[in-house]
């Protein structure tokens, strides 16, 4: 049995759902960022699967994946800086206590 597109799409869907679960349920702010990285990687896996199976001569999906990797790196840097700043401000990383915007 050869590798199919559906295998990669199912794997990416599973990774995406795990990432969403972690994004919602985790209370440590750093773990929330890790879950966002999981989500971006799931999308990247989708893009690479489509690029290989539907568009093998113009590999535009790989170009998009490189852009997604770039944006993910920028997002990780800024997100961790924000976490450090809010940790200095509130002295905790608990997501439930970041209620500065709650009236």
């Amino acid at each position: 049995m050869e590798l199919q597109l559906q295998f990669f799409l199912l794997l990416a869907a599973a990774l995406f759902c795990i990432g969403i679960y972690g994004l919602i349920t985790s209370r440590n702010a750093v773990r929330v960022l890790m879950s966002v990285e999981l989500l971006l990687n799931a999308v990247n896996l989708n893009l690479m699967g489509f690029s290989n199976f539907l568009d093998p001569d113009q590999i535009k999906g790989q170009v998009f994946a490189v852009f997604v990797i770039t944006v993910a790196a920028a997002e990780a840097a800024v997100g961790l800086a924000i976490i450090l700043a809010i940790y200095r401000n509130r002295n905790t990383v608990d997501m439930e206590q970041f209620n500065l915007l709650k009236w």
């Binding site: 794997l11 879950s35 690479m48 590999i59 535009k60 997002e75 800024v78 961790l80 450090l84 608990d94």
Partner: protein, 200 residues
């Protein structure tokens, strides 16, 4: 790059199981340091899957950027906020997690049904050998503007991260007595901003 078909399938199964297990570990484990290292495992497995998808350049970029930069950055962040705190338990925790799990499972079932039901327009032309040349051609012809914008975005992210993460320095009035000491900075670290008054 054509491995034998069975070997491809075995590699896919091993990498997929490793990736899902490591991702579950990232989400479910209690110690956040274990989660960070397992996140590196997820990135490495995904890089292997990219190699199975004939994408050598993106696999190398994945290892360089994610394992080399993002994972190390997350480890730095964990060590900078290394506060051993036990989160105050919330009410209805199991209800929240159960509802989230049900929603995520439903989403996965929905996506799986869509994936299996859609007739994909598979293109079975020959796979190009040299992906780096093709990606570079895309970058410098039809994706030139996003490429340059990505560089500007990285610059902005770098400046923003530095500004957000550094400690604020309050310049003090320069004392004429200390002006002769040319090697001391006329700044001192400010006290930490207010601690939470009412930890709820």
């Amino acid at each position: 790059m054509n491995l034998a078909v069975d070997l491809q399938l075995i590699c896919f199964v091993v990498l997929g199981v490793a990736m899902i297990a490591a991702a579950l570990g990232v989400v479910l484990l209690d110690r956040i340091v274990y989660s960070a290292f397992l996140l590196g495992g997820v990135f490495l497995s995904i890089s292997g899957l990219y190699i199975l998808l004939n994408a050598d350049f993106v696999a190398a970029a994945q290892i360089l950027v994610y394992v080399g930069a993002v994972n190390v950055l997350i480890l730095f962040a964990i060590m900078l906020v290394n506060k051993q705190e036990d989160f105050t338990p919330l009410g209805n925790r199991w209800l929240r997690q159960g509802a989230t799990a049900v929603v995520c499972g439903g989403l996965f079932i929905l996506l799986a049904t869509m994936v299996l039901a859609t007739p994909w327009a598979l293109d079975t032309t020959v796979v190009i050998e040299n992906t780096v040349v093709q990606i570079g051609r895309h970058f410098f012809s039809d994706y030139l503007l996003p490429f340059e914008l990505a560089s500007v975005l990285l610059l902005m992210a770098m400046v923003g991260a530095i500004i957000l993460a550094r400690r604020d320095f309050v310049p003090e009035g320069i004392d004429p007595l200390t002006r002769q000491e040319a090697l001391t900075l006329p700044e001192r670290p400010r006290e930490l901003a207010g601690t939470p008054s009412d930890p709820r």
